[in-house]
Symmetry: C3
Subunit: 177 residues, 3 copies
């Protein structure tokens, strides 16, 4: 929405109504390092600017919330196999492009460190510290066989798509990353 649209929130009596914080609702769909970085940078920046931020972690993106020390997850062989080829945890993210068997990812991480760009692990901690709400997608948890014990501390209770739609309708910014 526009600032213009907020303007008429001044009530008909002429008194300004209490200002509501702006909101951002994001879908973190990918676990690629190059998508997780902008997701978490935009989320922390928005929260630092006073917005209320909700992130719905779904599909590949659910792996972002996985503890770095969890390796094989799931309860059946398909889930276990999937967890091996799609490793979770912010320390194990890989570039979606020019990964080059690890060399590209290592190089970008090195460049980021040289230029003082916070790592995904640091950004995710910071995000939760400043109030960004991280919601795991229940349907994806079922598919992967992931449970709340597989996630880092501070994660919100799991949600379904209808809850995300509800957040998105109330938000001023919606992004699917």
């Amino acid at each position: 929405m526009t600032t213009e649209a907020v303007a008429p929130a001044t009530s008909t009596t002429g008194e300004p109504e209490e200002e509501q914080p702006k909101r951002m609702a994001m879908v973190a769909w990918s676990s690629d390092l190059d998508r997780v970085w902008p997701t978490l940078i935009l989320a922390t920046t928005a929260a630092a600017s006073g917005l209320e931020v909700d992130i719905f972690f779904t599909f590949w993106g659910l792996r972002i919330l996985q503890r770095n020390d969890r390796r094989v997850t799931g309860s059946n062989w398909m889930q276990k196999a999937e967890s091996l080829v799609d490793p979770g945890g912010t320390d194990h993210l890989r570039l979606g492009k020019i990964h080059f068997g690890g060399a590209g990812t290592t190089m970008i991480k090195k460049l980021a460190a040289d230029y003082k760009v916070a790592s995904p692990t640091e950004l995710l901690e910071m995000a939760m510290d400043i109030g960004v709400r991280c919601h795991p997608c229940q349907m994806t948890m079922d598919l992967y066989g992931l449970t709340a014990q597989d996630f880092i501390d501070g994660v919100q209770p799991s949600l379904g798509a209808a809850s995300f739609i509800d957040m998105a309708v109330k938000a001023d910014i919606q992004l699917f990353i």
Copy 2:
């Protein structure tokens, strides 16, 4: 926009105006199974929650609307070649990641079936049944040499980008997936 911004829709006479349904405008840009799934899940969930939903199928995403029994499409050799390497129809979608020559895609579909997640084919039918409007992009149809006869039943007339922008401006949620 925010619920807050809707609040002032109460007219200056103090009487609440008739409430307009919320709207969502999506771009379905990809034909990757892992993107089509969230597109259709969010669309059907939003429509079931009472939102009006428009999806603009463009670029790779146009192939989602192709009938499953259409194989080679287009009228010149380039279009025919493209249709062979980029098969259309919701039954033929492949993962954008860990496809593994078909094994990864088969496994995810098996997991989804085990956990009662509807297939893209079922979701697309359901979406149109509950009023989600599916608009093919005319420019992409020209590029691919696709005609209305190549699409499943129930698809809306084709549109250009200007019509999508018009929908998006009126919408409460916009997502590019």
Copy 3:
């Protein structure tokens, strides 16, 4: 936001307030030809429809703004190596899918030319001609070692993520592409 939400912009005196132009804020995150095309088509279409359009070029997307005659960029070996595998400039974009060592990209470009779809280079020029504001991400410039001299003419001063969030909150449409 919705048109409905704009309606109450009619002031309490009954006189319509001056109408603000609608706004679109986009993130151009990718340099893949198949993502750059819709980004620039949507941007030019929206601007032609009277919207104010801001594009934030970040991560891979920053390469879109690179001059076509710049080849190796950056000041250290890692930045130079990255610039070689991730060539910049609208003439050098490649498909993110079915690139096929260049054959797929060449074919799609040929099809686009046959069907009078403007090239990314033409679209980017046109976009800036009709007022689309192109903002490079400062953090990405630092990572890549790119300077303002590496960019085409007409680009806006560089920005950080907080400035993008500010634009996005004021916009009627936000898209991450």
